[in-house]
């Protein structure tokens, strides 16, 4: 019996060959075109390559669709889109406030100003443009909020432990930066600690700077809320547990309450240092 992709596949059905292309394995290659002709799977070499082509095209297209539709990929796109929407909304807002300031007496600053302008009733052609422009910015802000809601809903099912520990948005960011939940699960915790600080990390590796203490996990309360002198320890502890959380989420998917309790304990110990020193 052969390991060939066409073994057991229906010669007239590319789908059956595609499944074998995706899931089959062999310890070593062989002269598959000749074997296929001998086995009666293909009439000749030309026919074999035509069948191989249909099967590989179908297999690759199914595999791509499956991987790209996966929940972690969707989360990664959503968090990047959320950041795009926010950055762009801020950029539009600056212009709106600047422009509206030349037409109206009172314009609140920042995003509040944009919402305020968007509500107004334009009286001139210029006002009409600035109000319309403000409306686009407000729409983008609403889109950002909807994306955040989507992430908050999805992250806990895609990566329950990671979402609990990091919060849904930071969980999605880590997945996006690592290139998927599986890649995140395979990264050592030292890498997770500096994800998002690649520029600083490469500067360090080239000997131009000290090693970065934290990347995007800085946004976590455990790091940001710890005094600067202990942030390195806090970031290391958090990253260690985050990478375990990602592994549990990828390989088993169970929720593990003890993981979160351990981190809470560890953070308490680190933060107690500040209190001890204050007492001395």
């Amino acid at each position: 019996m052969t390991d060939a992709w066409f073994a057991g596949a229906d010669p007239d059905d590319p789908e059956s060959g595609a499944t074998r292309v995706r899931t089959g394995r062999a310890p070593a290659p062989a002269d598959w075109p000749a074997e296929a002709v001998d086995a009666g799977f293909a009439a000749d070499e030309t026919d074999y390559y035509a069948k191989l082509r249909s099967a590989t095209l179908a297999a690759a297209s199914e595999a791509v669709a499956e991987r790209e539709r996966a929940d972690d990929v969707q989360l990664a796109h959503a968090v990047r889109a959320m950041d795009d929407a926010e950055r762009t909304a801020n950029e539009l807002a600056e212009r709106v406030v600047e422009w509206a300031g030349t037409l109206y007496e009172e314009v609140p600053r920042g995003l509040d100003g944009v919402r305020d302008i968007a509500e107004r009733d334009p009286k001139t052609a210029a006002e009409e443009r600035v109000v319309s422009y403000a409306t686009r910015a407000v729409d983008l802000l609403d889109e950002r909020d909807d994306l955040r809601a989507f992430i908050e809903e999805r992250a806990p099912t895609t990566a329950p432990n990671l979402a609990e520990m990091a919060g849904p948005v930071l969980a999605a960011r880590l997945i996006a930066l690592a290139g998927g939940l599986e890649s995140l699960a395979k990264k050592p915790s030292g890498t997770v600690q500096v994800l998002g600080a690649e520029d600083a990390l490469f500067a360090h590796l080239k000997g131009r700077a000290t090693s970065p203490k934290h990347g995007v996990i800085f946004t976590h309360e455990y790091v940001r809320g710890t005094r600067p002198g202990d942030r390195g320890s806090a970031a290391r502890a958090l990253a260690g547990k985050l990478s375990i959380a990602a592994r549990v989420d990828h390989y088993s998917g169970d929720y593990r309450p003890d993981l979160h309790a351990e981190l809470a304990d560890r953070m308490e110990t680190i933060r107690a240092r500040a209190d001890e020193e204050a007492d001395e």
Partner: protein, 221 residues
């Protein structure tokens, strides 16, 4: 080949199906096939092969002796979105294109739709058993452009697909092995590891087109 080989005769070294043709007043490598990445196409259907976007294109442009003649069977590891492998399929025979990341394979599928001899495989080149049931033995040419650590190991593991008189054409990216090490040290390590399975025929730095890359031509031991 004639003994008066000169610049005018340079095409003689190129595989059949690859030609130097004028594009925008400049002689450039080209192959004949459906357009893929916005490259210039002349009125006869020849499309320019951009050596700046293709390591194999750079190896040919620099005159390395790739042993390619046209019509051979090819296993291409690290096909990405198909920029280079599209040109290979234009002049080669059965061409197996392995790529690990789903996003570029989406584009590679489009390239394969237009070519009868290109077989896309969403597989990991570090795990040859996952495609040994599809890729035939006795391959004439193994092309490697994988931007991952352990490039030499991948080449050694995939030796089993090559015919005894086949060729390994490999572009090593120093930064994929170690971003901090000197490229020359990285290349020495890679060549040392290749030595277990391959006999080196030629190496050349591709820096004119690709910074910190080494082009390697080798044959199985």
């Amino acid at each position: 080949m004639s003994d008066d080989s000169s610049a005018a005769d340079a095409d003689a070294d190129l595989p059949e199906g690859v030609e130097r043709r004028p594009f925008g007043g400049r002689e450039r490598l080209s192959t004949r096939g459906a357009q893929v990445y916005g490259e210039p196409v002349d009125s006869d259907g020849w499309r320019a092969w951009d050596a700046g976007r293709s390591k194999l294109g750079a190896m040919l442009e620099l005159g390395m002796d790739t042993g390619l003649v046209g019509g051979e069977s090819v296993l291409y590891l690290g096909a990405a979105s198909g920029t280079t492998v599209s040109h290979v399929a234009d002049f080669a025979g059965p061409t197996y294109a392995v790529e690990f990341a789903p996003r570029p394979v989406r584009d590679l599928l489009g390239v394969a739709e237009d070519r009868d001899n290109l077989f896309p495989l969403l597989k990991d080149a570090r795990d040859p058993e996952s495609y040994a049931h599809v890729v035939e033995s006795g391959i004439d040419c193994l092309v490697m452009d994988v931007a991952t650590r352990g490039q030499a190991t991948v080449a050694v593991r995939n030796r089993q697909f090559l015919a005894d008189d086949g060729r390994l054409l490999m572009a090593v990216k120093a930064r994929s092995e170690d971003v901090t090490a000197e490229p020359d040290d990285v290349f020495d390590d890679v060549l040392a590891e290749l030595d277990s399975a391959y006999e080196l025929l030629e190496t050349a730095r591709l820096d004119r087109f690709h910074a910190d890359h080494l082009g390697i031509v080798a044959r199985p031991k």
